[in-house]
């Protein structure tokens, strides 16, 4: 059981401040006192923070992140930073060594495509006739792509396989949402901006997971920008994006569940004139509650030999990666969603 909770602020009129050394949020005419020692992080979708409250968060080790409604990360500040310089040197050394980076990248892609393949097989067993055969065939292609990974020599090849596998999986995902009507229309993955409800929901959830992963990386002492699969670019959290790959299948599963159970419906989305689609403010509460609840779910982690709760997964994987980079583990054991 985790002992800290997340504060989400969505109301653009909300104001986070400090009262008697404690956090408080003034919103809709009420003041809510938030125990500073009980907050893990603050996710801002709207609202304001006073300098005093930012200061209190930084001093208390509370991470503050801002997310745009499109699912783009605005910023992540504060939060515990751990590790030591030797770990950082080991991380950079491995990242700029093409072979070592490729080794880690292959593991990440293999795990992601394995999780994808398992989900596609699940959808296949729920389907019938032609659709079932199509999905089974796609699962076979994914298996073949995974098998082709050890033979790849370059990062570009690995990224190519990842991209191909992901496109196939998203096609299958679109098929499995076909019975939901317009809200489930998912021709292709679009982001920046998302162009339909499924994409808007995925982008939103991925952003929440990215904040977790950035926090976990920093807390363990890894630099979120120095990655192995994702190319290094200024300002891009490549390592965080690498670690996020293993969490995407579980996040997708949450999105599918919300849509299938009709907890999220077409009226929960807004469209801009330019064709972008966003989760409406009124729907954020439902999604955020569901997201937090799904973090308490227990997942099997075959390579680690025990079950883990979803909320602990980012820290667990970041720790395992750090141990591998330090030389304690011969290989990085990724998470595969069963």
């Amino acid at each position: 059981m985790r002992h800290k909770s997340v504060l989400y602020v969505s109301d653009y009129k909300a104001r986070i401040g400090v009262g008697k050394g404690n956090l408080q949020v003034r919103a809709e005419g009420r003041t809510t006192k938030i125990p500073v020692h009980g907050v893990e992080s603050i996710i801002l979708l709207g609202g304001q923070m006073t300098i005093e409250s930012i200061d209190l968060c930084v001093r208390s080790g509370i991470r503050v992140a801002g997310i745009r409604r499109s699912g783009r990360l605005r910023f992540v500040v504060g939060g515990p930073i751990g590790g030591n310089v030797l770990l950082r040197v080991a991380q950079v050394t491995a990242a700029i060594d093409e072979e070592r980076a490729a080794d880690i990248a292959r593991v990440i892609v293999a795990a992601k495509l394995s999780s994808y393949r398992i989900q596609v097989l699940r959808w296949a067993s729920d389907a019938s006739g032609m659709q079932r055969q199509v999905l089974r065939a796609e699962a076979d292609v994914l298996a073949e792509r995974i098998r082709s990974l050890p033979g790849t020599a370059s990062g570009d090849r690995i990224r190519g396989i990842e991209g191909d596998g992901t496109r196939r999986y998203f096609r299958a995902l679109g098929g499995s949402l076909a019975g939901l009507g317009p809200v489930g229309a998912f021709p292709v993955r679009t982001r920046r901006p998302p162009r339909d409800p499924v994409n808007a929901l995925l982008s939103f959830l991925y952003a929440l997971a990215l904040v977790e992963v950035i926090g976990a990386a920093e807390a363990v002492g890894l630099d979120p920008q120095v990655g192995f699969l994702h190319r290094l670019r200024p300002g891009r959290p490549s390592l965080a994006l690498d670690l996020l790959e293993e969490l995407r299948p579980a996040t997708d599963r949450l999105a599918v569940r919300l849509l299938r159970r009709r907890q999220i419906r077409i009226e929960h989305f807004t469209r801009t004139r330019s064709g972008a689609c966003y989760l409406a403010e009124s729907a954020r509460g439902v999604v955020l509650s569901a997201y937090e609840a799904h973090k308490d779910e227990t997942l099997g982690h075959p390579l680690v030999g025990r079950s883990v709760e979803r909320w602990s997964l980012p820290t667990l994987q970041a720790t395992l990666l750090a141990r591998h980079l330090r030389g304690d583990l011969a290989h990085y054991p990724p998470f595969v969603l069963r």
């Binding site: 059981m1 919103a27 955020l288 509650s289």
Partner: protein, 101 residues
């Protein structure tokens, strides 16, 4: 790897006869508000790590007058919702839930 969570009840009786008493009462309440949430007038529910509990005790000892005031910390055997029966008006947020504002 990650510290386990303990659910606690913090209850207090602070004498309120003098101005100094009022100040102490306010400080005890403010201390509890930094660690948990008020469920009744002088009853707080907290979910803390072992380290958090040690810090809470230390912070409370700093503000109470041990010769006059009384604070009790009850450690629950598991998550509070498994051990709690609420009658009448309930608190808005359960321990462990996110704040969504």
């Amino acid at each position: 790897m990650t510290p386990t969570a303990i659910d606690l009840l913090v209850t207090y009786d602070i004498r309120t006869l003098t101005v100094a008493d009022d100040r102490r009462l306010k400080r005890v309440a403010a201390t509890c508000e930094r660690y948990g949430q008020r469920v009744q007038y002088s009853v707080f529910e907290c979910r803390l790590s072992e380290v958090g509990l040690v810090r809470l005790e230390a912070d409370l000892l700093r503000v109470i007058d041990a010769s006059i005031d009384s604070v009790n910390i009850y450690r629950l055997a598991g998550p509070v919702r498994q051990h709690k029966i609420s009658l009448g008006r309930t608190t808005v947020r359960a321990l462990g839930e996110p704040w969504i504002l």
